[in-house]
């Protein structure tokens, strides 16, 4: 029989506080400047000095993954150099320290998203894992009369798990349609909600088009019929700071790698009551209370959903990444990125035959476009030769591409460390691609 090791919560709080003192002093310095100093910020990102195909890298694929500041890279090195041990199970000092750091990061994430309890934050391997965890949990709560609503703007990660869930339970999947601008039709959503609706799943921000969805409205209406809501925050967390209690959202998932953190780590926020209701996703070490061959009882939250040794370093530096972004400040990030979006939209629109997909009035710094008569893959290939990294293809959103009847788009997505000069390079690259490819 095993007993789950728990560490003193006071000690965890103290470590969290100690860490926050450190970062407060960093943010204090940064926030003295009224505007965001991009040249200084760029120095934090070693990769931005790289050359690609002989040209300085212009990294405009931030919606796929963001780059990593040296503060986060250093924290990974620091962890493996000084603290590496397995967590929640050793009495020795290293294990205790690693556990404290990991749990302190959980508290940092809790604070960032304003969750009520730290145990409402589940470490995952990313957004996809979080969605699957919830979908799997609901399999035991649904039957064939139930209905699930997703949006037409979803990433495949937020379509396939629900289709699988519907196959398993016989429940029906309904879709909130979109208009040509790439906005969800809320009047149709109203009509899709019924007493049978059990779950609504929508992304906060669309990865293919950048549309910011009216999730406050979506959540309120879903709650009116007693349905739970999961919001996919993979694309929102790099730009805004969601407040899960204010949103009154039931589940919120995100990935660290889109917000300056490492790949393979993410978080699931779930309201305590919901997380208690859902069965565990995976069995294994860490998630148990008592194990015998007759019966195993599960550990309490959050460990019930954290089977096996997690990505400990990743979990810890997820917190470092959040500190880093907060030290710059989400208001500054949003304002600056909005400026980049306006600048780039205007400049790209001067290119004849260029069409932008996703023109919602409320959108983030993502521009999906095509050149008339030219395949996005060709444009992406030429841009790559010029050192410009963009994404081409369907962006894991085939239904959106089918809606526009296109094979895909070229997508440029901007982060707070991008510059107007880089946008100028993009624009001249697109012009060159057009010349070579027409």
């Amino acid at each position: 029989m095993f007993k789950l090791f728990t560490c003193s919560s006071n000690r965890v709080k103290a470590v969290a506080r100690a860490l926050s003192y450190k970062t407060n002093s960093i943010s204090g310095v940064l926030q003295l400047q009224v505007m965001l100093n991009v040249n200084n910020i760029r120095k934090d990102f070693p990769i931005l000095n790289r050359k690609v195909n002989g040209k300085p890298l212009v990294y405009l694929d931030n919606a796929a993954t963001s780059q990593t500041p040296k503060q986060v890279i250093d924290a990974i090195v620091d962890y493996y150099s000084n603290y590496n041990a397995n967590i929640h199970r050793g009495v020795h000092t290293l294990s205790q320290e690693a556990t404290d750091l990991y749990e302190a990061s959980r508290i940092k994430i809790q604070k960032h998203f304003n969750a009520k309890h730290a145990h409402e934050i589940i470490f995952t391997s990313g957004t996809t894992h979080g969605i699957n965890l919830v979908a799997n949990g609901f399999a035991s709560l649904l039957n064939k009369n139930d209905e699930i609503i997703v949006s037409a703007l979803e990433h495949h990660s937020n379509i396939v798990p629900w289709q699988m869930l519907c196959e398993r339970t016989g429940a029906t999947l309904k879709v909130i349609p979109m208009n040509l601008e790439g906005e969800l039709l809320m009047d149709v959503y109203d009509t899709l909600l019924t007493a049978h609706t059990k779950l609504v799943f929508v992304n906060h921000i669309s990865n293919a088009l950048g549309t910011i969805n009216p999730i406050e409205y979506i959540i309120e209406k879903a709650h009116n019929v007693g349905a739970a809501v999961l919001i996919d925050g993979a694309q929102s967390c790099p730009h805004i700071k969601p407040n899960v209690q204010e949103l009154d959202v039931d589940f919120y998932v995100t990935s660290a790698h889109k917000m300056c953190g490492p790949t393979g780590v993410g978080m699931l926020y779930g309201k305590e009551a919901w997380l208690n209701k859902l069965p565990p996703y995976q069995g294994g070490g860490e998630m148990i209370d008592q194990v015998s061959f007759k019966k195993t009882t599960y550990a309490a939250l959050p460990h019930k959903f954290e089977a096996g040794t997690p990505d400990i370093a990743g979990g810890i530096v997820f917190g470092t990444a959040i500190d880093y972004m907060n030290s710059i400040g989400f208001e500054h990030i949003a304002a600056y990125e909005n400026e980049l979006l306006g600048y780039a939209t205007k400049a790209l629109q001067t290119i004849e035959g260029l069409k932008i997909y996703g023109t919602a009035s409320n959108k983030t710094s993502v521009i999906s476009f095509n050149l008339e008569g030219i395949h996005p893959y060709d444009v992406g290939t030429i841009l790559d030769k010029l050192g410009i990294a963009v994404r081409t293809g369907h962006h894991c959103t085939q239904p959106i591409m089918d809606f526009y009847k296109i094979p895909g788009t070229v997508r440029a997505s901007f982060a707070f460390y991008n510059t107007k000069e880089e946008i100028d390079i993009l624009v001249s690259g697109v012009k060159k691609a057009k010349m070579m490819l027409s």
């Binding site: 030219i374 395949h375 893959y377 060709d378 030429i382 030769k385 293809g393 094979p407 070579m436």
Partner: protein, 139 residues
């Protein structure tokens, strides 16, 4: 001409260009001369998987040689498949199976050779060779 002779010819042609832009421009031009697949053969089952753009290939046995026709909705991809087909078409299945494709590297298009690249050059080579294997059993 043997496959090796054709490939050497292609290498020589590409060596005349100074930089990537000219090489790409030439590849795009070669795509315009691609032996066109008949519309009727542009079916889903003739699409090569693993390419971000669509590539259709059709193969026919003429006497004891294979004739390839193809098309793509992306013009760089069209250029790549045109180069491949130029070296493989009207050749014996056995020669196609044994053919080496290192010449792609030598003409300065190495980046397309990565098996993880979404353009699927590696999938194209594999598919052309699969046709050759299938037809060889019929000879």
């Amino acid at each position: 001409m043997s496959i090796t002779d054709i490939q050497n010819e292609i290498i020589e042609e590409f060596s005349m260009f100074e930089d990537w832009e000219e090489r790409y421009q030439y590849m795009i031009d070669l795509g315009k001369d691609l032996p066109m697949i008949k519309e009727a053969y542009k079916t889903d089952s003739n699409i090569i998987k693993g390419c971000q753009s669509k590539v259709w290939v059709h193969a026919e046995l003429k006497d004891d040689k294979i004739e390839f026709t193809a098309d793509s909705d992306a013009i760089i991809t069209k250029g790549i498949i045109a180069i491949l087909i130029r070296s493989f078409s009207n050749q014996h299945p056995k020669d196609i199976i044994d053919a080496n494709t290192d010449f792609i590297d030598q003409i300065g298009l190495k980046e397309h050779l990565s098996p993880t690249r979404a353009n699927g050059l590696v999938s194209m080579i594999k598919q052309l060779k699969l046709y050759a294997i299938a037809y060889q059993t019929q000879l």
